[in-house]
């Protein structure tokens, strides 16, 4: 990883030189007129679009409440669709930075998209804030002064479920995940806290439509519980087919499989499914209640954690820019402001660790039907308190 740290250091040095230039541009008309430009990069079309839509609407809810300003500066958001194609995402992110001269790139639903744009964005000295994807390389050795995650390190949710399985006393757990990096990370995360027997691990292709073959195997193995990670449409299929196959007796410990973005399609079939999260619509706290209410009023559906994280990201930026008095030019100072500023988060326990990932609580949640007929995940109990992700120790953040 020698080369990567070297590059990070170079980027930081360059950024140190940059402020002079930027300030020279901004000093013409006295204050304020410069404004903030944010590129909102998310998956807004294709199979992953539901998540991106939640994220976008969470951001828009925040911007509406902030009157389209961030830290007192007029803010402009460029909505960019990454189409879930890494190559497209890189091209568009470069366009936003080089042509539109954005100050921040936020959003990022999928890890592979983040993996593709992380280098080009951070090397240009632009801050990158992920409201969902939190892959391990960026949390550990590849941690970066210009990168922040307002969500979680992906493994934390899986580890939470491992802890739950351990505490519930399950002896034999069956594992079903998609066959790609995030799927393998999920298994590793789950195993980091679950010490019982893994009856079998099944890896299915990402394009899987039909889980019939796998469900039959699960029924045959008769495990104490099923651990699964099936994001997006995969989860919709799995949950519905799980119900149809009459497997309801085996408890499902899931991560990113049932949430408010998939529940409208999963409906009653998802009732009783467990999930692990840092946030749920009914998380106690006035700030959160007020957010969920405002979101539902504006967009007509129940927000998922993606929306909450995007909402938090906007208020984080607002607070950090305010703390800097609207001066965006001094990047190291702005970075320090983002690291330490306190902002009104919807999560009661939010703060950044040294690797720029949150240190926060994680909860066991369960799918429930609200009195108005809509579905949401609801908190069962707190599992991990102020959890630091497993990779933070490997991070040597350049000063």
């Amino acid at each position: 990883m020698h080369r990567r740290t070297l590059l990070g250091a170079t980027a930081a040095t360059l950024a140190g030189l940059a402020p002079a230039v930027v300030r020279a541009q901004g000093s013409g008309p006295q204050g304020g007129t410069a404004g903030v430009k944010v590129a909102f990069l998310a998956t807004l079309s294709g199979p992953g679009a539901a998540l991106g839509t939640h994220m976008r609407d969470g951001w828009l809810t925040a911007m509406a409440q902030l009157g389209n300003t961030l830290g007192g500066l007029p803010a402009e958001t460029l909505m960019i669709d990454d189409e879930l194609k890494p190559e497209t995402a890189v091209t568009k992110a470069r366009a936003a930075i080089e042509r539109d001269k954005v100050d921040f790139v936020v959003g990022l639903v999928f890890s592979n998209i983040l993996g593709a744009v992380a280098r080009p964005v951070t090397e240009s000295g632009t801050f990158l804030l992920s409201a969902n994807a939190g892959p391990s390389p960026l949390a550990g050795k590849g941690c970066n002064p210009f990168f922040f995650a307002t969500s979680y390190q992906n493994d934390q949710n899986h580890a939470t479920m491992g802890q739950v399985a351990q505490e519930e006393g399950y002896k034999r757990v069956f594992v079903l995940v998609p066959n790609y990096q995030a799927g393998k990370d999920a298994v590793a995360g789950f195993r980091s806290r679950f010490k019982g027997e893994i009856v079998d691990e099944l890896y299915v292709p990402l394009s899987q439509l039909d889980f019939a073959a796998e469900l039959a195997k699960i029924a045959d193995a008769k495990p104490d519980a099923l651990f699964t990670f099936m994001p997006g449409a995969l989860g919709v299929n799995l949950v519905r087919q799980y119900h149809q196959a009459g497997l309801g007796r085996i408890p499902v410990l899931s991560t990113f499989t049932v949430d408010e973005s998939t529940l409208p399609a999963q409906g009653d079939a998802a009732l009783g499914f467990f999930t692990a999260s840092d946030w749920a619509p009914n998380l106690p706290g006035e700030r959160n209640t007020q957010f969920v209410k405002a979101f539902e009023a504006a967009h007509g559906y129940v927000p998922a954690s993606y929306a909450a994280h995007a909402y938090d990201t906007a208020f984080l930026l607002d607070a950090a820019i305010k703390a800097r008095g609207g001066k965006l030019g001094d990047k190291p100072a702005l970075r320090a402001a983002i690291e330490t500023v306190s902002f009104p988060s919807v999560r009661p326990s939010f703060k950044f660790g040294k690797n720029h990932f949150p240190v926060q609580d994680f909860y066991l949640c369960k799918v429930a039907k609200r009195p108005d007929g809509k579905f949401q995940t609801e908190i069962v109990r707190k599992v991990l308190t102020e959890d630091v992700d497993a990779y933070a120790a490997e991070c040597r953040m350049p000063a």
Binding site: L44, S45, G46, P47, A49, A50, T53, N179, E201, L202, Y203, V204, P205, S207, L209, D210, A212, A213, E214, A216, K217, A219, D220, K222, A233, V236, N237, R240, Q241, Q244, A245, G246, L247, S261, T262, P264, A265, Q266, G267
Partner: protein
């Protein structure tokens, strides 16, 4: 692996095969009879699922949605034929591929604009939404059995229609001796439009059947389309019999490969390696089978003789 588990996997393969058959039947007829490559056939499958789900939700009954989706799919098929496809019959295959790809892009995007990109909630078939116990511990979804039954009903009917009726004879004759059939006073244009619309309806039917099982989302037809092409190439372009056999074959190979390969590889490899290569190999298996067939029997299992 117990024998009941194997039975369940075979049923799964059959059920997947039946869906593939319903989609590929129209594709193989259109391809074989009109010599027209229609990439947009998968879109018909998607639209069938969407129509059935929307109508079903609006009327509060899955069955009403299923029944009404059929004429709606037929109408959309006719409209597309009239608007776009009919102007492509006399063009080479590559132009047809390009133009029908344009249709996919347009209709996938239109679906996204109309229904949103999130998967749709589909009403469950009343009476068939539960499972049937095969043994005391192993259940099987009733709706999947219904899909198999529907396929077993449609397949012989379609075969009879094409092979044994007068219209079927005209369609078959029209594909091999186009000029002579039209010289006999048969309106080939209308005949082809009819074949096209029936193909579209079958794909729509498949989509409506698949709705309660799979996710109804934009682009759901694209995966099925590729597999349907695999089916018609293996079965022989234009052959209904070939489509029946090949779709069941593809369904079984795909499902059983996914179920058995990782276990088989475990005999030779370490468990972790076996799982991963097994999963990768299982996704390839259908294509390996197709490449093998194309090498050994380039014209497919049941080649249709051409003039």
């Amino acid at each position: 692996m117990t024998s009941t588990l194997l039975l369940v996997q075979v049923l799964n393969g059959l059920q997947f095969g039946v869906l593939l058959f319903l989609v590929s039947a129209g594709l193989t007829l259109v391809f074989g009879v009109m010599d027209f490559i229609n990439l947009a056939h998968g879109v018909q499958y998607m639209l069938g699922a969407y129509l059935a789900a929307s109508i079903g939700t609006a009327l509060g009954s899955f069955w009403a949605g299923l029944v009404l989706a059929l004429p709606a799919s037929l109408a959309i098929g006719l409209a597309l034929e009239w608007l776009v496809f009919r102007h492509l019959y006399d063009r080479d295959h590559l132009s047809q591929v390009l133009a029908t790809f344009g249709v996919i892009l347009t209709l996938d995007e239109a679906t996204r604009a109309l229904w949103g990109s999130a998967p749709l909630n589909v009403p469950q078939p009343a009476g068939l939404s539960g499972g049937i116990m095969l043994t005391s511990s192993l259940g099987y979804p009733a709706w999947r059995l219904a899909i198999i039954a529907a396929g077993l009903l449609v397949a012989p009917l379609l075969w009879w229609l094409v092979e044994r009726t007068r219209s079927g004879m005209l369609v078959r004759a029209g594909s091999t001796h186009r000029a002579i059939v039209s010289a006999l006073g048969v309106d080939i244009g209308r005949l082809f439009a009819l074949v096209f619309a029936i193909g579209a309806m079958l794909a729509g039917f498949a989509g409506a059947l698949a709705g309660p099982v799979y996710a109804v989302a934009p682009g759901m037809g694209d995966t099925v389309l590729i597999l349907a092409f695999v089916v018609i190439v293996i079965g022989g372009v234009g052959s209904i019999r070939g489509a029946i056999i090949a779709s069941l074959l593809v369904g079984l190979v795909d499902t059983l490969g996914r179920a058995l390969l990782p276990d088989l590889l475990r005999l030779a490899l370490a468990p972790a390696a076996a799982r991963q290569t097994g999963a990768a190999l299982a996704s390839m298996l259908v294509y390996v089978a197709m490449a093998g067939f194309l090498c050994l029997r380039p014209a497919g299992l049941f080649p249709v003789r051409r003039a």
